[in-house]
């Protein structure tokens, strides 16, 4: 099974995306799934989106990048985090 790639996007590629990235990695590890994560700024999404399976964003992003986008704001507010983790894990398990 090929390792899936997630692009984690936030305004700085350093603050909130780091929080989301750590949470995603921890959840995937706990579920026994390997995943590759990268971070970038919103301005760099257009050139990097085609390399990844899906995007998790902690910023308000447009929806026209050609790959699925999951709203990761829950990682920052803590509200509804379990559902978002579930959605990400489902996408990672999904093999089509």
């Amino acid at each position: 099974m090929p390792v899936k790639k997630i692009l984690v996007v936030c305004g700085t590629a350093g603050i909130t995306s780091t929080i989301a990235e750590q949470e995603i990695q921890a959840a995937a590890r706990a579920a026994g799934i390997q995943v590759q994560t990268m971070r970038c700024t919103p301005g760099a999404v257009a050139t990097r989106a085609h390399d990844v399976d899906f995007i998790v964003t902690t910023t308000a992003l447009g929806s026209h990048y050609g790959v699925p986008i999951i709203n990761g704001m829950a990682f920052i507010t803590g509200i509804g985090k379990e559902q978002v983790i579930e959605e990400i894990l489902n996408r990672l398990r999904d093999n089509d």
């Binding site: 996007v9 936030c10 305004g11 700085t12 590629a13 350093g14 603050i15 909130t16 995306s17 780091t18 929080i19 750590q22 971070r39 970038c40 700024t41 919103p42 301005g43 760099a44 999404v45 257009a46 050139t47 990097r48 964003t57 902690t58 910023t59 308000a60 992003l61 447009g62 026209h64 704001m73 920052i76 507010t77 803590g78 509200i79």
Partner: protein
């Protein structure tokens, strides 16, 4: 007591890579973390400062030296180099003994204001405490008074909590973020100016009617939106202007690109170390106030990815370069934050509901004070940076950044505090 202060001073003199791990460890234990986790968090913060210092070394050896050359050749006046918010934030978090006092005082201010019903914003964005920490760090350096530094920092945050409340309906409507507010000084402070400016422009004939809301403009502008590509272009350009040889041009280009790529990575490490503290403080706040009708206060990073904001920021890159050159008295050379203009622009774009022309026009008006304030802050930021051990090169060039320039609220408080101090000192 003297012995105790000697120990404190000895540790502080060792630099932020040494004292910040201790501060984070102690704060972690205060917030009830397990010792193992608190130690790991502390050491991670120390590593981040080592990493940041390495990148600053790279920036100093290349870009700052090229600018020193430009000063020698042309009498180039843009000597305050925009080294980027990561360095300003690192200086703020590393500004010494005031850090824990300000952190706790600002938390208490937020708690008190929530309890009294003076604000609805529950600020869980501990990271952006770097902005009051920077103000406090500068005031402490200038006056030597911890309580005076804490006072200014608390006033700044009290103001931004109120402004965040006021702007929350816009955040909810434009970005669809229910129950979120943005108590982020460098960003939300501009709402106080952007919203009235937008109303004023509505009344101007012709200009008030122009509406560009093109779809996907930010995609058409392509790879220039990527900070690493932007760094390559800008680095090569300044080295060429400095009449450097081909080898230096190539090296400056790749080094500038590397700086713009690596600084957020290093901040990622710093964030990893601050995360347990940030989580603990956030949990603590939510436990006390979570049941009430409050707004969760987040970093403006949560909103800056909107396509109209990205497009406006890209249009402003050439604009701010022109402004930097033509504005009399400006000494700021925009550089590392050219890729991060989005943070200053939500309140140029949101009041007109995403009109990019209006965003560009209001954004241009924002950039003028941003450049002047960044110029004014440059000596203080350079001195504070050197004091905590960052090695900026000797010569004419100084360090500043556009983020500092965009914190006009803390800058006004800083000026008032220094005026009062000069009257009584």
């Amino acid at each position: 007591m003297q012995g105790f202060m000697n120990v404190i001073n000895f540790i502080m003199d060792a630099g932020p890579a040494v004292f910040m791990p201790l501060i984070i460890l102690i704060l972690g234990l205060v917030f009830g973390q397990k010792p193992g986790k608190a130690i790991r968090a502390g050491v991670t913060v120390g590593i981040a400062f080592i990493g940041l210092n390495l990148v600053i070394g790279l920036l100093s050896d290349t870009v700052m030296n090229v600018v020193n050359r430009m000063v020698e050749i042309y009498g180039f006046k843009l000597t305050a180099i925009d080294v980027g918010w990561p360095i300003a934030a690192a200086i703020a978090w590393g500004s010494g003994v005031v850090v824990p006092f300000i952190l706790i005082a600002v938390l208490l201010v937020n708690i008190a204001m929530l309890a009294l019903g003076w604000t609805k914003t529950l600020d869980v964005d501990i990271w952006n405490y770097w902005q009051p920490l920077f103000l406090g760090g500068v005031v402490y350096m200038m006056t030597g008074s911890i309580w005076y530094a804490v006072l200014g920092a608390c006033i700044a945050m009290a103001i931004i909590f109120k402004v965040a409340d006021m702007c929350q309906p816009y955040v909810e409507e434009f970005f669809g973020l229910k129950g979120i507010s943005i108590p982020h000084i460098e960003s939300t402070g501009w709402a106080l100016i952007g919203i009235p400016l937008n109303r004023l422009i509505d009344r101007i004939p012709v200009i008030g009617k122009i509406d560009w809301s093109p779809k996907h403009l930010e995609q058409r502008l392509g790879i220039i939106g990527d900070p690493m590509v932007l760094g390559l272009v800008v680095g090569a350009a300044i080295a060429l202007i400095a009449r450097a040889d081909a080898l230096t041009v190539l090296n400056t280009a790749i080094a500038t690109s590397a700086t713009m790529f690596l600084l957020p990575r290093m901040i990622g490490v710093l964030m990893e170390g601050l995360m347990p503290l940030s989580e603990a403080a956030g949990e603590f706040m939510k436990r006390r106030f979570g049941g009430r009708d409050v707004y969760i206060g987040l970093d403006a990073a949560a909103i800056v990815g909107a396509p109209s904001i990205i497009a406006t920021a890209l249009l402003l890159i050439p604009t701010i370069m022109v402004l930097a050159i033509i504005l009399p008295g400006n000494i700021t050379l925009p550089l590392a934050e050219l890729g991060g203009l989005v943070f200053f622009l939500p309140w140029a774009v949101v009041p007109s509901k995403g009109n990019i022309f209006r965003g560009w026009l209001i954004g241009t008006l924002f950039m003028i004070p941003i450049l002047y304030i960044a110029s004014d802050y440059a000596p203080a930021m350079t001195q504070l940076g050197r004091q905590i051990g960052f090695e900026f090169p000797e010569g004419a060039s100084m360090a500043t950044c556009l983020s500092i320039g965009s914190q006009w609220i803390t800058w006004v408080i800083y000026k008032i505090q220094m005026l009062i101090y000069s009257l009584f000192a």
